[in-house]
């Protein structure tokens, strides 16, 4: 007499195993969905924009005629924008991260600052645009200048860099810190000569990723009123400027089909820049991150 009917068990098991392997493939497809969309997006953009992509496109200013419209003003404008955004954002966020990780006492106020920063990270970019419009453009009378837009974007990416820097600083082991203090180094000597150098690859990765987000951000620039048809590049931080995402947006909104092709060409340029920045970030993260 057999107490266990092996056939029934094998039957039940095979059903469960089949379900498992079917769903495994379904989950795998979900994972690949992103890649498929990415490929379609890039293929569609390149197919639309490739023919418009030439030296003229890179060296001409924008124009009301699609065949002579170029990206030059937008490229230079975006560079100017980064010249303001990068240093402001870096000083503010790395300073904040150092304070929170190394100096801040453990109390309610510090906790409040941390909560505030994580909430700031969730504020929609268009709301940062409204802040820029009311504060920098109107109240401080900076107009739609490089400075107004740069400061707005710097505030927008601040939480991103703070969080990345905090994580990088936290990975520096306590033993290294204690060794430095034990050798008689002061707090600031420890922070500036031991902790910062050890955390810098992680911090730089965070900075590059945040700047690439700022570079592609459109909504705050629209709200601030960044122009799309300038025929000059800025000479100072108080001049108005154009920017790559803003230019692309204005072309996409054109009813004329010709402009869709140059919008695609603009997107190719912008994606190449962003891809280079992202690769640099990943390279730095993998190459220079110290293991303790």
């Amino acid at each position: 007499m057999t107490l266990i009917d092996k056939d029934i068990i094998a039957n039940k098991r095979s059903g469960r195993q089949t379900r498992n392997s079917i769903l495994k493939w379904l989950f795998f497809l979900c994972t690949m969905f992103g890649l498929m969309v990415l490929i379609m997006l890039i293929a569609d953009t390149v197919a639309d924009g490739w023919d418009s992509l030439d030296m003229e496109f890179l060296t001409n200013f924008n124009s009301s005629r699609a065949e002579s419209a170029g990206f030059y003003g937008a490229i230079i404008g975006s560079l100017w924008l980064m010249v303001v955004t990068a240093p402001v954002a870096i000083v503010l966020s790395v300073g904040t991260a150092l304070y929170l990780e190394e100096y801040a006492p453990k109390n309610k106020f510090t906790e409040f600052i941390k909560i505030n920063i994580s909430n700031l990270a969730g504020v929609p970019s268009v709301v940062f645009g409204l802040l820029g419009l009311a504060m920098f453009v109107r109240a401080l009378a900076l107009g739609n200048s490089v400075l107004a837009a740069g400061l707005t974007l710097a505030l927008m990416i601040l939480p991103v860099i703070v969080v990345a820097s905090q994580e990088a600083i936290r990975t520096v082991p306590a033993s290294v810190r204690e060794a430095s203090i034990g050798m008689g180094a002061t707090k600031w000597q420890t922070v500036s000569k031991i902790i910062l150098p050890a955390a810098i690859p992680g911090i730089i990765t965070g900075i590059i990723l945040a700047l690439s987000r700022a570079l592609g951000e459109t909504a705050p620039l629209v709200v601030i009123g960044v122009p799309t048809t300038l025929l000059v590049t800025p000479n100072s931080f108080l001049d108005s400027f154009q920017a790559m995402p803003m230019q692309i947006y204005s072309w996409v909104k054109m009813p004329n089909e010709e402009f869709q092709y140059i919008a695609a060409a603009g997107i190719i340029i912008m994606l190449v820049v962003l891809l280079l920045m992202n690769s640099a970030a990943i390279f730095i993260r993998n190459k220079f991150s110290k293991r303790y």
């Binding site: 979900c30 997006l41 504020v123 268009v126 000597q189 592609g216 459109t218 629209v222 009123g225 996409v252």
Partner: protein, 307 residues
């Protein structure tokens, strides 16, 4: 004796020299840190003061109760429900796409994939998350919408579905990576216990890992929906600029963010109702996303305490 004196001298010198410096550094860093508080106060002050001006001109009851948003007709009709309905249509469509796919990807990455596969796929999700939304907008109107129109010719040039689908694609990486984080932090012993009892990976994922990581997973949904509410460029490009409170997804619509972009890219003359309405809508947007972010971080923290 003289040796000791020199030592004292050295100690005193280094202390004096570094002491002021050492004391100033934390103060400088604290001042820098306070900028983030100033930014929050700036946002709140801007939104509240300008909305206050708006509500001194337009009754708040009209704003909150009416379903007609007609800023250009006469003094305008300001019922924000028309814009909120637009936002909701986009969010629902985005969630229908993003939640199953994002969760499926998270299950695969956390329960099935080897370390090697995970290391290959995660950067792809990062790249997808890093694509500027204006590019997604272009994709929605020039790639997704023509496909939709070829399937059903009721779709216009601007509609909720093309914009909603692409917003969904945009938030997939967020759901996938945050849910994966939540599932990966379920202790291996629980997973091994289930597998050891003879459960398949699927049964382990569905009956053990997901229930254990549930609040973290829900937190990722809430955060992603908050991101979808605040999404601006995709809807500005692909959803149109016609506020309406209908449920029809083939019609053009306008979201809260879309309205802000439409008005600011034209000229909202300073001091008009239209100008102040920007901040009232911004305030509504800010409050909605803030509530969702708070719920999300509350869920995440609750989850962390359990293990």
């Amino acid at each position: 004796m003289s040796n000791n004196k020199i030592r004292e001298q050295v100690v005193e010198n280094t202390r004096n020299k570094s002491n002021t410096f050492e004391r100033i550094i934390p103060i400088i860093l604290l001042v820098i840190t306070l900028v983030s508080i100033v930014a929050t106060i700036g946002i709140l002050y801007t939104l509240i003061s300008q909305s206050f001006e708006f509500f001194s001109r337009v009754p708040i009851t009209e704003f909150l109760l009416s379903t007609t948003w007609q800023p250009y007709v006469g003094d305008g009709e300001w019922g924000i429900w028309a814009l909120i309905m637009g936002t909701m249509k986009i969010v629902v469509i985005a969630a229908i796409v993003a939640i199953p796919i994002g969760l499926g990807a998270a299950i695969y990455l956390s329960e099935y994939a080897s370390d090697k596969v995970r290391r290959l796929i995660k950067p792809i999700l990062e790249v997808l998350a890093g694509i500027p939304t204006v590019v997604y907008g272009f994709f929605a109107i020039n790639f997704v919408n023509p496909i939709l129109q070829s399937i059903y010719d009721g779709f216009g040039l601007y509609n909720a579905v093309s914009a909603g689908l692409v917003v969904g694609v945009m938030i997939i990486p967020m759901i996938a990576s945050l849910s994966e984080d939540a599932m990966s932090s379920v202790p291996a012993s629980m997973r091994e216990g289930s597998l050891g009892m003879g459960a398949t990976r699927l049964e382990t994922a569905v009956r053990v890992v997901i229930p254990a990581a549930f609040s973290g997973i829900i937190a990722s949904f809430v955060l992603a929906i908050s991101r979808a509410i605040g999404e601006t460029m995709i809807v500005s490009i692909a959803a149109g600029s016609t506020p309406n409170a209908s449920f029809d997804v083939t019609e053009p619509l306008q979201t809260m963010t879309g309205f802000i972009v439409q008005i600011t890219s034209g000229d909202a003359a300073f001091g008009t109702n239209l100008y102040y309405s920007l901040f009232a809508v911004g305030m509504a947007l800010f409050v909605m996303t803030l509530i969702m972010n708070i719920i999300s971080s509350w869920l995440t923290n609750r989850f962390k305490e359990e293990y």
